[in-house]
Amino acid sequence: MTPDLRVTIAGVELVNPIMTASGCCGYGEELAEAFPLSKLGALVTKSITLEPRLGHPPPRTAETASGMLNAIGLANVGIDCFIAEKIPFLEKQKTRVIVNVAGSTQKEYVEVCARLNDCPRVDMVELNISCPHVDAGGMEFGTDPAITERLVSEVRKVFSRPIIAKLTPNVTDITVIARAAEAGGADVLSLINTLSGISIDIHTWRPRLTKNRGGLSGPAIKPVALAMVDKVYNCTRLPIIGIGGIATANDVVEFLLVGATAVQIGTALFVEPDAPVKITRDLIAYLKAKKLGSVRELVGKVRKY
């Protein structure tokens, strides 16, 4: 018998726990050429802002040991174009759609989410309060608990479906921010966004990114992400979406064991566009080998010392 991969997050049922991570699959159009998006538990779009953004000047990515730095700068088409040109494509996709939202001000987040509330195709929003490389907004919303709580509660007033708060690891204690997001009315927490980092060319003495600093992602950050999911799982009752260096089904199992209900695949998509398909296949094999009837049996079951 095929193990049951379905998971439910904030009342929304997903065919499996595998999502894409924001910023790693655009709005889904390119990815749909690699595999049918119906194979995903959910598609998470690139961050959408009120106005279109060009992003930072190149170079804005740099390879590092088992990972990469990026300072793309939230390049996106803006909410008007997103609704006019990207939603029609997403209407045709048989998967859950989560729209990631970013802004320079609280008002911007609220306006974008209010617009998305009128798009029934959007199953959830994910608030990017954790982007480490933009000049205004982004991470500053996610490093101060009072600001986090206020932002989430203001979005709560205009968006009636589930709200995910995406947390940054660049804080002293992530549980403080997790609880603030919960207090503000978030339904789900996703973590982690990228870790702040720098890489330098020793011949030119120049940072490899024009923004000097960027966000570190990829397999290099997985142990950090697991530790943070573990911490947050033990301090809140909200469902958790684990993110950070996931590239294989084994990685997914680790995240579920420390308490994630679902996961997002980011940087691994750059290496294997069809990574979610392979990961799902291998996850089924793992569950069969362990004689587990459902993927849900793994959640939070880490056997700690």
Partner: protein, 264 residues
């Protein structure tokens, strides 16, 4: 299965050419027949510790044998690891990716301007055109390098029957100087029939070729290189600024752009 679905392909041969240059043949690859000059493959190295793929322009294809050839120069960690591979090792291919060169009309003269490791896609373009009946004598193949050892695969280029113009910085082979200067001199001294430029090479050379095309009002295209995490349009890491404003993805809207289109 399509060009965005990775395919495992074995190495047929890995041959050292000269200095840091290597020729890599892969096959059988199911998508060889769909390749066009100017396109690239995104090469994964599953048997190494190199995590990301490497974008490599296509140097030649053998459609009957389903073989692909790449000519690369050891430059960093990825190409270093690639050079240590051997026959039978497995690589992981995405592609063919990107927009190919727009071929010249049969009445035009094809002026190829290659610098260093930028020559392979131009070699592919020349051989592809000749196979389709383009007059080899209407192909002016300029190929520049720092020194003689950097002008690789000379006999293959000559065998095409094109007009071959090697140029080296130190004068150790061919004309001494910069390849773009040699092209400009040649264009001003010879009245070519409807020239069309195709350039691929390092940034400074590409900019000089792009300027030359604009200054002499010669149409053509340049092929760009950029750090490319994904290669299929999702990461937005490889963008270049456009003259008309905005950005274009080298992997998706490129790597081939019209002369004057990109702010180089």
């Amino acid at each position: 299965m399509n060009r965005y679905t990775p395919e495992r392909v074995p190495i047929v041969s890995l041959r050292h050419l000269s200095r840091d240059y290597y020729s890599l043949k892969l096959g059988p690859w199911s998508r060889v027949g769909q390749c066009r000059p100017g396109q690239f493959v995104h090469l994964g190295l599953p048997q190494s510790d190199v995590y990301f793929r490497r974008a490599m322009s296509i140097a030649a294809v053998a459609v009957a044998g389903k073989e692909l050839e790449i000519i690369f120069k050891v430059f960093g960690k990825g190409t270093q690891a690639l050079s240590h591979h051997r026959k039978g090792d497995i690589l992981d291919l995405l592609g063919p990716l990107g927009v190919p060169f727009r071929p010249p009309r049969m009445t035009e003269t094809c002026v190829l301007v290659g610098g260093g490791v930028g020559f392979p896609p131009l070699y592919y373009l020349a051989s592809w055109l000749i196979e389709r009946g383009f007059d080899p004598k209407a192909i002016e193949f300029f190929y520049g390098g720092r020194t003689s050892g950097e002008i690789v695969e000379r006999s293959r280029i000559k065998k095409l029957g094109v007009r071959f113009h090697p140029v080296t910085d130190d004068g150790s082979f061919g004309v001494k100087g910069l390849v773009t200067e040699a092209v400009e001199t040649y264009l001003t001294e010879n009245a070519l029939r409807r020239p069309r430029l195709y350039a691929c090479g390092p940034g400074a050379m590409l900019k000089a070729a792009d300027d030359l095309g604009q200054r002499l009002a010669i149409p053509g295209q340049v092929s760009l290189e950029a750090p490319m995490p994904c290669g299929f349009g999702v990461c937005l890491g490889c963008v270049v600024p456009l003259r008309a404003g905005g950005h274009a993805r080298v992997c998706r809207e490129g790597p081939v752009f019209e002369i004057g289109e990109v702010l180089l």
